[in-house]
C-alpha cells in the first residue's frame, strides 16, 4: 500500500516537472509581449518628475519651522547634528580603519585589499568598491603622495564622486494648477514605508502644507491603523477602506478627495512586497495607474519613493531595479541608518539606476527624517 502512495507522489511530482517545463517557454514569449506596453506607460514618468516642478524645495523642507497642528517637529539644525552624531557612531570603525590603513608607511597590495574589504563591509558592493579603490590607486600613484591627510582627502573625493552630489534631491510637493501633488511610497516588507509616510507628513505639515494620507496597504494586519495613528498625531486625515480592499481604489479615492478638497499633497502608503512577486508588482503598477487617473490625462504620479532599509545588502540593488521597472521610482528613502548598518548599497543603486537618495530615516522618533546630503554622508563615513 505504501509503495503505491509513494509511486503516486512520484507521478505527481513528475507532472509538476512536465507541466512546468512546457509552461516556461510560452510564458517567456508572452512576457516579452506584455512588457512592451508597460514601458510605454512608464516612460513619461521622469519627464513630469521632480526636476522641473519644484526645485530647491526639499533643501529647506525641514526648515519649515512654524507650528504644526498637534506636535512640533524639532529644529532642523539639531536634526542634522544628530545625523552626524549617529552616523559617526555607526561608522567609527570604518573611518578609523581607513585612516590607519592609509597612514601606513608603505601602500602595498595587502593594504589596498584591506581598503577594499572595508568598503565592502559597508555594503558598497564589489563593483563600486573596485572602482573607487582603483581610482584612488591611480591618483595616489600620479600624485606620489604618502601624506595621510591628503589621502583621506582623495578618498573623500572619490567617495563623493561615487555618491554624486549633483543629483536633484528635492521632493516634488508644491501643488500645480490647483491639483495636489501625489507621492506614492513603495518598498519591500518591513523596510519602513508606513513610518516614512508618517514622518514625511509631519514635515509637510510643519511646512504649512495641507496633506492627506491614503492607506493603500490593505493587506497587512493593522497597517491602516498604524498610518492613521501617524496622521492623527499631526492632524492629517487618512483615507482608508476595509482590509483586503483593492489598494488601487483606495489610492484613487485618496487622490480624488485631495483634488476635491484642494489639498497640497496626497501621500499613498502601499503594502510591502518582495520584488520577485510578479503578481504583486503588477498590482503596484495598477495602483500607480489608477491613482493618476483623477489628475487628468497627461499627468503621472509626481513622486514614487522607494523605501530601502539600510541593513539591506546587495539585494537592495535588485529591489531598486525591479521597482523601477514596475513603477518608475523617482527617489529613494534610506531608512534605519541609525543602526550599525552603513547603507553603502545606496552607492550602487544611484550608480546603476541614476535615481537619487532623497531622504534618510534615522530612527524611531517622529522627526528622525532628514534630507540626504552627499557631502555629509561621505564626511561622516571618512571622518569617523
Amino acid at each position: 500500500m505504501e509503495s503505491v502512495i509513494y509511486a503516486g507522489i512520484g507521478v505527481l511530482v513528475l507532472l509538476v516537472l512536465i507541466v512546468g517545463a512546457f509552461l516556461l517557454a510560452p510564458s517567456r514569449r508572452r512576457r516579452r509581449d506584455s512588457s512592451a506596453p508597460a514601458t510605454v506607460t512608464g516612460a513619461p514618468g521622469p519627464d513630469t518628475g521632480p526636476g522641473e516642478a519644484a526645485p530647491g524645495d526639499a533643501d529647506d523642507e525641514p526648515a519649515g519651522a512654524s507650528a504644526p497642528v498637534l506636535e512640533t517637529p524639532t529644529e532642523p539644525t539639531s536634526r542634522l547634528a544628530r545625523l552626524r552624531d549617529r552616523l559617526s557612531k555607526s561608522n567609527t570603525t570604518l573611518g578609523r580603519g581607513l585612516l590607519t590603513l592609509l597612514s601606513r608607511e608603505t601602500l602595498d597590495e595587502q593594504t589596498w585589499e584591506e581598503i577594499e574589504d572595508l568598503l565592502i563591509m559597508a555594503d558598497i558592493g564589489v563593483d563600486p568598491t573596485t572602482e573607487i579603490v582603483d581610482a584612488l590607486r591611480e591618483r595616489v600613484r600620479v600624485l606620489g603622495t604618502r601624506d595621510p591627510q591628503a589621502l583621506t582627502e582623495l578618498l573623500r573625493e572619490e567617495m563623493v564622486r561615487a555618491v554624486d552630489p549633483t543629483m536633484d534631491r528635492t521632493l516634488a510637493v508644491d501643488p500645480i494648477d490647483g491639483s495636489p501633488r501625489v507621492v506614492l511610497v513603495v518598498g519591500v516588507n518591513g523596510s519602513g514605508k508606513t513610518t516614512t509616510v508618517g514622518k514625511i507628513a509631519r514635515v509637510l505639515v510643519a511646512q504649512d502644507r495641507s496633506v492627506l494620507l491614503g492607506a493603500a496597504d490593505t493587506f497587512r494586519a493593522a497597517a491602516a491603523e498604524q498610518l492613521s495613528t501617524w496622521g492623527s498625531r499631526v492632524g492629517v486625515e487618512t483615507v482608508r477602506k476595509e482590509e483586503g480592499a483593492d489598494p488601487a481604489s483606495v489610492a484613487f479615492s485618496a487622490v480624488e478627495r485631495g483634488i476635491a478638497e484642494d489639498l497640497d499633497v496626497v501621500m499613498i502608503d502601499t503594502a510591502g512586497r518582495l520584488q520577485n512577486k510578479k503578481g504583486l508588482m503588477d498590482e503596484l503598477g495598477k495602483v500607480k495607474r489608477v491613482a493618476a487617473r483623477p489628475l487628468g490625462d497627461d499627468r503621472e504620479i509626481d513622486e514614487v519613493l522607494l523605501v530601502l532599509d539600510a541593513t539591506t545588502g546587495q539585494n537592495g540593488l535588485q529591489q531598486a531595479k525591479v521597482f523601477s521597472e514596475a513603477v518608475n521610482i523617482t527617489g529613494i528613502v534610506l531608512t534605519k541608518l541609525d543602526g550599525t548598518a552603513k547603507g553603502g548599497i545606496v552607492v550602487a543603486v544611484q550608480r546603476t539606476l541614476g535615481v537619487p537618495v532623497k531622504l534618510i530615516g534615522l530612527g524611531e522618533g517622529a522627526d528622525d527624517l532628514a534630507p540626504f546630503d552627499a557631502h555629509e554622508f561621505v564626511d561622516a563615513i571618512v571622518d569617523g
Binding site: L14, R220, Q226, N276, T312
Partner: protein, 538 residues
C-alpha cells in the same frame, strides 16, 4: 546581471570540470570566484574569509589531488563546508518539561517578528499545541493591533492588556502573561517584542528584562534574509544582548538567499531553526541546513517538494492513476486534468519549480513565469471533447483549430501542448516498462553544466544516509556514474540510450528547443533519479 550565489558557483565549477589535475593557480582562481560570489550574496566578509580559507586548505590537500576528478572534489568540499556552517542537523524547538514553554522573539525593526509570531502560533497549533501570543511590542504604532489580528487568523489567544503606541510597560505585560497562560492552560507562550537596534543599550536592557522576567525556553532571533554586511554586527549585538538560542530567517521567498543565513550561523554558532517564506499564515517551515546548502549550490530542494506533494495529493485518485499506468494503459488527458487540479492545490507552481535542481540557470524565465499559464493549458484541454481527451491521437488539423478557437489561443499553442504531452506519455510508458523508475534518461547528457555540482553531492542528500541499506548504496553508485550519462545496469543503459534518442528526435524540429529543452530534460532526469532517494526518506 543579478548573479545569485548558486549562479556564480555553478559557472565557477563549470570551469573546473574536466580538469584532470588542479594547479595551485586553478585553486586560487576558484577561491577568488567563490569569495566574490559569496560577497555578492551578502555573506559577511569575516565569514567569507574563514570559508575560503578552509576550502583552500582542503582543496590543496591530498584528498583533492588524489581524486579522479578534482573539480568535482572541490564542489563536494564546498558543499560539506556549507552544511557544516549552516549547522548540520535540523534543530527543533526545545519544549519545557513543565508547560508553558515560553518562546521570545527579538530582532531589528521590520525583520518580521509580529508576522512570524502569528505563523509560529499557527504552526504550533497544527502540531497540537495551545499557543498564546503576548503583545509586548508597545512601541510601534498599532503593533498590538496587528498582533491581535494575526492571532485571530492563527486561531490563537492574544494577551494584550496594554494598548501600545508607547503606552505601558512591556516587562510587566510579559510577566503577567505567564500567570494568564498558566490559568488558561496554554502550553506555549509566544512573546512578541518591539524591534530594536543592536547598539541601543536602553532597549537591549529592556529586552534582557523581559527575558529575565519570563525565563524563555527559546529565544528566537528573527532576521531578514536580505540583510547585508551588517548581519554580523547585528547578530553579535543580539547574541550578547539577549543570548538567543535559535535564528529565524524571514523573507526567504525573496530573491536573495544564502548570505545572511551563512553569516549568522557562522558568527554566532547558533542554529537556524525556521524559515519564513511568504505572506500567508502557512508559509513557514523548519529550516533544513542540508537542503539550504543544496539550494545554495543549485541542487534543488526535491525533498521539500515531495513533502509538499505528500501533504496535498489525493490518495485515491493517484492510486487509480498508478494502477492505470501499471496495467499498461496510456496516461490520457483526463488524467492530466485531474493531476493539474492537485497540482494547483500544492500551491505556487513557480515556487515548486524553483526547488528543482539546476533551476537557477532559468531564473529569469522562472521569475517571469505566469501562474495563469496553467489555466491556459487547462483551457486548451477543456476545449477538447471527452473522446479527444481519452484518445489524443484523434486530433487532426481541424479539430486542433476548433480547440484553439475554443480556448482562445492559437493552433501553435495546441500543437506545443500535444507535443509535450506525447513526451510525457512516453515517459510514463518507460516508467512502467522499467518497473518503477528507470535509470533516468540520458542523465549527464542534457543536464549540461549543472551536472557536475549536482552529482557528487548526491550521497549527502538527506534520507539516503540512514535509510535503505543496500538499496541506498546502489543508488549512490548510480549517482556517481551519472555524469557519464550511463547506467551501471546494461538493460537500463539500453533504455536510456533509446529514451535519449527518442527525445532527441522529438525535439530536433522544434525551434525553441534550446530555450527550454534544457529545463525539461534537466527536470526529468533529476526527478527520476532523485525520487527514489526521497522515498527512502519516508
Amino acid at each position: 546581471m543579478f548573479n545569485s550565489l548558486s549562479d556564480r558557483l555553478t559557472t565557477t565549477f563549470k570551469n573546473l570540470r574536466g580538469k584532470g589535475r588542479l594547479t595551485e593557480a586553478d585553486v586560487d582562481q576558484t577561491i577568488r570566484e567563490i569569495r566574490r560570489a559569496l560577497l555578492d550574496a551578502d555573506v559577511a566578509l569575516p565569514v567569507v574569509r574563514a570559508f575560503t580559507g578552509s576550502v583552500r586548505e582542503r582543496a590543496l590537500s591530498e584528498e583533492v589531488s588524489q581524486a579522479l576528478n578534482p573539480g568535482q572534489q572541490i564542489v563536494k568540499i564546498v558543499n560539506a563546508e556549507l552544511v557544516d556552517i549552516l549547522g548540520g542537523q535540523t534543530r527543533r524547538i526545545a519544549f519545557a518539561k513543565r508547560p508553558p514553554t515560553v518562546i521570545m522573539l527579538a530582532g531589528l525593526q521590520g525583520a518580521g517578528k509580529t508576522t512570524l509570531a502569528g505563523k509560529l502560533a499557527h504552526w504550533l497549533k497544527q502540531e497540537g499545541h495551545r499557543p498564546m501570543l503576548v503583545a509586548a511590542d508597545l512601541q510601534r504604532p498599532n503593533a498590538v493591533n496587528q498582533l491581535q489580528i494575526v492571532g485571530e487568523r492563527a486561531g490563537a489567544h492574544v494577551y494584550a492588556p496594554e494598548p501600545g503606541n508607547g503606552v505601558g510597560d512591556p516587562v510587566r505585560v510579559a510577566t503577567d502573561a505567564m500567570d494568564v497562560a498558566k490559568s488558561k492552560l496554554h502550553d506555549i507562550v509566544i512573546v512578541d517584542t518591539a524591534g530594536r537596534l543592536g547598539i541601543d543599550e536602553e532597549l537591549m536592557q529592556q529586552a534582557r528584562d523581559i527575558r529575565d522576567a519570563v525565563q524563555p525556553d527559546e529565544i528566537l532571533f528573527v532576521i531578514d534574509a536580505m540583510i547585508g554586511q551588517d548581519a554580523v554586527a547585528t547578530a553579535n549585538a543580539f547574541n550578547e544582548g539577549v543570548d538567543f538560542s535559535g535564528v529565524v530567517l524571514s523573507k526567504l521567498d525573496g530573491d536573495s538567499r544564502g548570505g545572511a543565513a551563512l553569516s549568522v550561523a557562522q558568527v554566532t554558532g547558533k542554529p537556524i531553526m525556521f524559515a519564513s517564506t511568504g505572506e500567508s499564515m502557512t508559509d513557514f517551515e523548519l529550516f533544513h541546513p542540508d537542503r539550504m546548502a543544496d539550494r545554495i549550490l543549485d541542487m534543488g530542494d526535491i525533498l521539500t517538494l515531495i513533502e509538499q506533494a505528500e501533504r496535498t495529493f489525493d490518495e485515491k485518485e493517484t492510486e487509480r492513476l498508478t494502477k492505470k499506468v501499471e496495467s499498461g494503459e496510456d496516461f490520457d488527458l483526463n488524467d492530466f486534468l485531474t493531476q493539474m487540479a492537485s497540482l494547483k492545490k500544492m500551491g505556487s507552481l513557480k515556487k515548486m519549480l524553483g526547488m528543482m535542481p539546476g533551476m537557477s540557470q532559468h531564473k529569469e524565465q522562472l521569475e517571469s513565469f505566469d501562474e495563469r499559464e496553467v489555466d491556459r493549458i487547462e483551457a486548451i484541454v477543456r476545449s477538447m471533447t471527452p473522446q479527444e481527451r481519452a484518445n489524443p491521437k484523434l486530433l487532426n488539423g481541424s479539430r486542433r483549430q476548433r480547440i484553439a478557437r475554443g480556448a482562445g489561443t492559437t493552433v501553435t499553442q495546441v500543437n506545443q501542448l500535444m507535443e509535450r504531452f506525447g513526451q510525457a506519455q512516453k515517459m510514463m510508458r518507460q516508467m512502467r516498462n522499467g518497473g518503477g523508475m528507470p535509470g533516468m534518461g540520458g542523465g549527464g547528457r542534457s543536464r549540461g553544466p549543472q551536472a557536475a555540482p549536482g552529482m557528487p553531492a548526491m550521497p549527502g542528500m538527506p534520507g539516503t544516509g540512514g535509510h535503505g541499506g543496500g538499496g541506498g548504496a546502489s543508488k549512490r553508485k548510480k549517482g556517481k556514474k551519472k555524469p557519464a550519462g550511463k547506467s551501471g545496469n546494461p538493460a537500463k543503459r539500453a533504455q536510456e540510450a533509446q529514451a535519449a534518442e527518442l527525445r532527441r528526435q522529438g525535439k530536433a524540429p522544434e525551434q525553441k528547443g534550446a530555450a527550454f529543452g534544457g529545463i525539461e530534460m534537466g527536470d526529468d532526469d533529476i526527478d527520476l533519479s532523485k525520487l527514489p532517494k526521497g522515498f527512502g526518506g519516508f
